[in-house]
C-alpha cells in the first residue's frame, strides 16, 4: 500500500467521521466543524487517488486549492448567519432539531 493510498483511506474515514458528527450534533458550530472535516476528507480522497507511480497530476491540486478557498468563504458566511441567528433568538441550535 503506497502512501497516497493510505491518505485516501484516511480521507474516507474522515468523511465518514464528519458525516456522523454532522448528523449527531445539535449545536450549529459543532455541525460546522463536522462539515469542514468532511470537506477535508473529500480533498484527501481527491488528491490521494489521483497519484500513482508516474508522478503528480496538477488538475486535482488546482481543484483542491479552489475548494479550500470556497470552504473558508462558505464557513465565514455560515458564521455570520449563525451570529445573526444567535442575536435574533438566543439559541445555538435550530428549533426543528430540539
Amino acid at each position: 500500500m503506497s502512501g497516497a493510498l493510505a491518505f485516501a483511506w484516511s480521507g474516507v474515514l474522515l468523511f465518514g467521521l464528519g458525516l456522523f458528527g454532522f448528523i449527531m450534533h445539535r449545536h450549529l458550530l459543532r455541525r460546522l466543524l463536522a462539515f469542514n472535516i468532511m470537506g477535508s476528507g473529500s480533498f484527501l480522497v481527491l488528491v490521494g487517488l489521483a497519484q500513482d507511480g508516474r508522478g503528480v497530476d496538477p488538475v486535482p491540486h488546482a481543484m483542491v486549492i479552489t475548494g479550500i478557498v470556497v470552504a473558508v468563504a462558505s464557513t465565514a458566511l455560515a458564521l455570520v448567519v449563525f451570529r445573526r441567528w444567535y442575536r435574533a433568538s438566543g439559541r445555538t441550535d435550530l428549533p426543528e432539531d430540539t
Binding site: 491518505f7 474522515l14 458550530l29 466543524l33 472535516i37 488528491v47 497519484q51 444567535y86 445555538t92
Partner: protein, 89 residues
C-alpha cells in the same frame, strides 16, 4: 517512509474525532486548528506544497481565527452589547 504516512493518517482521524467529541467548544476549535496543521503536513507528504501552504494559511489560520471570534461572541451575555456586524445597532 510508509509508516510515517500511516501514522499521520491515524493521527488525522484521531484529531478529527477529538475535535468532534470535545466537551467544551473551545477545546474542539483548538483541536480543529491542530487538525488543519496536520492536514498541511499530509499535503506535503502527498507532494503538494502549494496545497500545504493554502491549508496552513487559510484552512488552519483564517478558519481558526473566525471560529475563535465567533466563540468570543457567544461568551457575551445575550443581548448585552450590539453586534458590530449588525447594521441596526
Amino acid at each position: 517512509m510508509p509508516w510515517l504516512d500511516l501514522l499521520l493518517g491515524i493521527t488525522l482521524v484521531a484529531t478529527a474525532a477529538l475535535s468532534l467529541t470535545a466537551r467544551d467548544l473551545f477545546r474542539g476549535v483548538i483541536m480543529f486548528i491542530v487538525f488543519g496543521l496536520l492536514m498541511a503536513l499530509a499535503w506535503v507528504r502527498l507532494q503538494a506544497p502549494d496545497i500545504a501552504l493554502a491549508e496552513a494559511a487559510i484552512g488552519a489560520g483564517l478558519t481558526g481565527v473566525l471560529l475563535l471570534d465567533t466563540l468570543g461572541y457567544l461568551r457575551r451575555p445575550f443581548g448585552s452589547r450590539a453586534d458590530p456586524t449588525d447594521e441596526r445597532s
